[in-house]
């Protein structure tokens, strides 16, 4: 009898403590766009994600909250409960909220999508996002980058949905938004990055800069993620070997460029560099840089990485503090504003 009473008391205390800890966790996360209860993300990463998500909220009215918590139990039920408790979507005037819950202890991640948005971000699409974009980064131990890379695809989908008027008007949304939509997956955090399959070599011998870019797009279409293709410059090969390449990124890049037309191919540095650029209004298609090595045109992602930046809308611009005058000279017929956006 005494044992039973002690057991009941012990259980009650444990349940009460869990409830108190949960309540404290919820309070600690209130109002934050990125809430890490585990110290899993660095302060810089939290700051970077928060800034990006603030821009996402301002531009697309999507309130994307990231919570890192350990041992949350059933991550599906927890995410739905947390969505409600944290008031995800309240910062959005159209009640668009997304919750990303990462549990490193259980090695699980769940993206909770509310009613209304589930027609745009279907469960199947979210599964694709997680498995084909997020998890490869997580496997490489780059959780914050994985979240950012996933957000890029969320933005891409939001842009299409806005164009096709797929979003449901807030007055037509149900009272309870957390309906358990979205997807969860094994996060595979730091389990070792497995690069997508490579493929046969692609040579650019005798090709023009534009033909090299076309050959690169064909490699993307074939899912050829090899970092050692002959169409890459030496610096690009080195860089690509350290990159996390995901099938979703490759698909997205290809889809983006398929909707853009080449505007001009120009050269600089005495014909040693070439630039395949797209219409000035096609802001999502950044120019490709090519460099001549061993008498062949090779894609130079290394220099592109130094000079080109993308904003939250996936629009490219030059980093004016870095871009060299010789590169700018190849774009002399365009103007650039102080932030490096062409017009």
């Amino acid at each position: 009898m005494k044992r039973k009473i002690l057991l009941t008391l012990g259980l009650s205390v444990a349940l009460f403590s869990t409830a108190v800890v949960n309540a404290q966790n919820i309070v600690a996360c209130q109002g934050k766009m990125v809430c890490d209860q585990t110290g899993f993300l660095s302060n810089d990463q939290i700051r970077g994600l928060t800034e990006y998500h603030a821009a996402l909220l301002e531009r697309y009215d999507i309130d994307l909250k990231v919570v890192v918590a350990t041992n949350v139990g059933d991550i599906g039920l927890k995410a739905a409960a947390m969505f409600k408790e944290l008031g995800v979507g309240e910062k959005s005037s159209t009640r668009k909220g997304v919750l990303l819950l990462i549990d490193p202890a259980q090695d699980k991640v769940r993206m909770e999508i509310p009613a209304g948005l589930d027609a745009v971000y279907t469960d199947g699409f979210v599964t694709y996002l997680q498995q084909r974009q997020m998890v490869p980064f997580f496997s490489a131990g780059r959780v914050a980058d994985g979240v950012l890379a996933t957000t890029e695809l969320i933005v891409g989908r939001a842009q299409k949905a806005a164009k096709n008027e797929e979003f449901i008007a807030p007055e037509n949304l149900p009272t309870i938004l957390a309906i358990g939509a979205g997807a969860q997956t094994k996060a595979s955090i730091s389990k070792g990055y497995l690069a997508p399959a490579g493929g046969p070599d692609v040579s650019g011998a005798g090709m023009s800069p534009q033909q090299v870019v076309d050959a690169y797009h064909q490699a993307l279409a074939q899912g050829n993620a090899s970092p050692d293709l002959s169409i890459y410059s030496r610096a690009t090969k080195d860089l690509k070997r350290s990159w996390v390449v995901t099938p979703a990124q490759m698909k997205m890049e290809l889809n983006t460029y398929q909707s853009c037309q080449v505007d001009k191919v120009s050269t600089a540095q005495n014909g040693q560099m070439a630039f395949v650029r797209y219409g000035v209004r096609q802001r999502q298609c950044a120019p490709y840089f090519l460099v001549k090595e061993d008498g062949e045109w090779k894609l130079d992602f290394s220099t592109m990485m130094q000079y080109i930046r993308f904003n939250v809308e996936n629009k490219w611009h030059f980093d004016m503090s870095r871009v060299s005058p010789s590169v700018l000279s190849a774009f002399a017929d365009w103007q650039f504003d102080k932030n490096g956006y062409p017009y």
Partner: protein
Amino acid sequence: MKFENKIEELLGTGKINPEQAAALRRSLQGGGASVEMNYHRGLSFGGMFGIAVIAIFAVIIIGGAMSPQSPQDVQNVAQTLNQPGGLGEMNKSMTTGLSILLLALPAIIWFSASYNGLVSKEENVLAAWAQVESNYQRRLDLIPNLVKTVKAYAEHEGSTFANIAKLREQADVLQNAGEKTRELAQGSVGKLEDESYMKNLSNAQQRVGENLKNFMMTVEAYPNLRSSDQFLELQGQIEGTENRINVARMAFNESVNDFNGAIRRMPGSLVSGLGNFHRKAYFKSDEGADKAVKVEF
């Protein structure tokens, strides 16, 4: 009340969406009569006014009955009118009537508010059930696609499939279980008070979930199929639907708990007795009642 009106009301208040309304309508085929009998509508202002008018008449009649004189008697004006230092009979009966009215009015207001509170809790149960139904419907709608995709792949890769017969067999079992459950679920919204029906339905749904889980486990043996984007999409939808079902089941059981508690507790039990509110059944299965099937790949 007509169930269509109820659905329109739920739609209008944003408690359900058009998809769920359609699921409710489907579910009501064959179960409409009992719905009209079992579920209530909130008292409108007019309703409350009606009750108040009836109460006032009742007070007047009671007041009249309390008068010591028969209507045929010749009225003694001296007795009826107020006298110095005292009240006449007319004012005595008026005062008694007004006192009863003053006592009855708060009771009427309290009754109406409690009744409306129970109606709104019952509506929450219905809305939560609509959510459960639409998610089960969603799962049943996905099964034919899943079976089709896997069968098409099995035919394409026939020569390399060692276990193709088992896969086909499981696909058929899954589809049959789905169809049977669809039939069982017809008219379910009218049977929310029938504990054994709800348990049977929950068991049937759980069996579909288990069949689905077994089917997916067999599919796991074929990495080419698993890694295709089309299959990934289906897998995501099925797993997502299972999670939606878990969330919706939990919300339904919470709303039932809230409603059942309200009709059993005092003073709500008084109103529920007068208003003919009945306990709703929880949506739980026989085994592992609190544990829904987890489909994880």
